[in-house]
Symmetry: C2
Subunit: 243 residues, 2 copies
DNA sequence: CGATGGGTTGACTGCACTCAACCAAGGTGG
DNA sequence: CCACCTTGGTTGAGTGCAGTCAACCCATCG
């Protein structure tokens, strides 16, 4: 059976009430599925996009490359996300996408998406909504990296990822798969790798969480949330109530 | 004559080839126009949006407020922008909007927008595209505030604002109206006010630009661009025909 | 095996934050 | 009218946090 379509339907349904006609449109989309190795790029800055990517499993990252050679991660995506819906209406990608750990990604021709949008405006609106959620997460990242001290900043990132993973039912118990290195954390949060390590040690010391073997373990969600100044309103997840 | 409609049409036309039917739809929209004083809020974090804002003249800012009381500016908008198109499909605003200097804003009921979207998908796509440009600017802000040193960071912001203002024909000669205070610059770039002042002094010293009496003056565009590591690709300012 | 990548830790340094004082301009009220 | 206050900008001194640099460990892998 086709996991890609189901993952997309599940994710869109999380935020939007899809009608049966919308589901029919989605199931009719052509998906070309591919597996990627950790850190493998699949869309590069400068590419002319004509397909949209859907994360089927694993995680993918979006990033900027600066002339200085520095890399800045912009955000992360989990199963069900459309990480480059952002590319639907632009001529040229302004950022790249790569697998974080091993990941499976499905590609949908833009042409088909547009046709479906015209037939089913509700489907278009639901994807549009996804892109707006993305933007909301970007805004929070601006604030996080600009206005919050190191420890809070890192805790906030973990909170967000955990919260989103839970909404996507990717959390088993109190842990989920987060195959990120310290260097990548640094390039996400705008801090040097040594600082990443020390800050992470502090967070571990607080007993609220741990990060081991590519797994994030949340031990005291409430405390971690407080530590990270985390309020999930900006994620606009309909299911608001969580333990 | 109605400036609001014309400003919107001009801005959308900048990026999208609008058909005559789209223009008819836009002209049929109901606008409620209002003037705001500098720093006056007109949409607050937590509001339930049911109208979309359009900047008719002046500048408006988007910002987060943290529990700590700190304010983080997320971005700025000029005439023709739809600063809260982001609110079209969300239940609750995750950020606020305020006038930067004195500003005139027009409000359009969401209901009318949605109806127009269904009748004219191309119009919907053009507004969608605007929201994606917004997101692209947010991404750049993440990178700017996280990965670039202070001086470069500030120069980059000025480059972006100048470039966008020029595209919107708001630059007269080599200057345009940018009514921003040092404190606000600090809350945009994530730096303390003292540092803002010193960094700005450096930039002035470089002879590439000046900021006086609420006006940004660009003296050496090329040098400022280089100083700010600025490449305008991410602004996607190019007319593109839509599907 | 040696090479590589990821993680850990210590020492040093310097940049940007904090704090504080001060100035200029504009608005307000007695 | 002046006195006062507020807001925005400017500058100096001191400090501390996080960046840089370097060494080292460990596991994996060719």
């Amino acid at each position: 059976m086709d996991k890609a379509h189901e993952v997309l339907i599940r994710n869109l349904s999380e935020h939007t009430a899809l009608g049966p006609e919308d589901v029919v449109e989605i199931r009719a989309l052509t998906f070309i599925q591919r597996d990627f190795a950790p850190s493998e790029d699949f869309i590069r800055q400068g590419d002319v996009p004509n397909v949209a990517a859907l994360v089927v499993s694993g995680m993918v990252a979006r990033y900027h490359l600066l002339d200085s050679g520095r890399r800045q991660y912009l955000g992360f995506h989990i199963a069900g996300d459309l990480p480059d819906a952002q590319g639907l209406f632009i001529d040229q990608m302004d950022h790249g996408l790569s697998a974080l750990g091993p990941a499976t990604v499905a590609f949908i021709p833009h042409r088909e998406m547009f046709a479906a949008f015209r037939r089913q405006p509700t489907f278009a609106f639901s994807v549009w909504r996804e892109t707006l959620l993305d933007a909301s997460i970007f805004r929070e990242a601006i604030t996080n990296n600009s206005a919050r001290p190191m420890q809070v900043r890192m805790a906030h990132l973990f909170c967000e990822l955990f919260y989103r993973a839970r909404a996507a039912q990717l959390v088993r118990g109190n842990r989920f798969h987060l195959p990120i290195s310290l260097a990548q954390l640094g390039e996400t949060l705008g801090m040097a790798i040594a600082t990443v390590n020390r800050t992470l040690a502090e967070l571990r010391g607080s007993g609220t969480m741990d990060l081991r073997e590519g797994e994030l373990i949340v031990l005291k969600w409430r405390d971690l949330q407080r530590l990270g100044d985390f309020t999930p309103a900006y994620l606009h997840l309909k299911r608001q109530s969580l333990p």
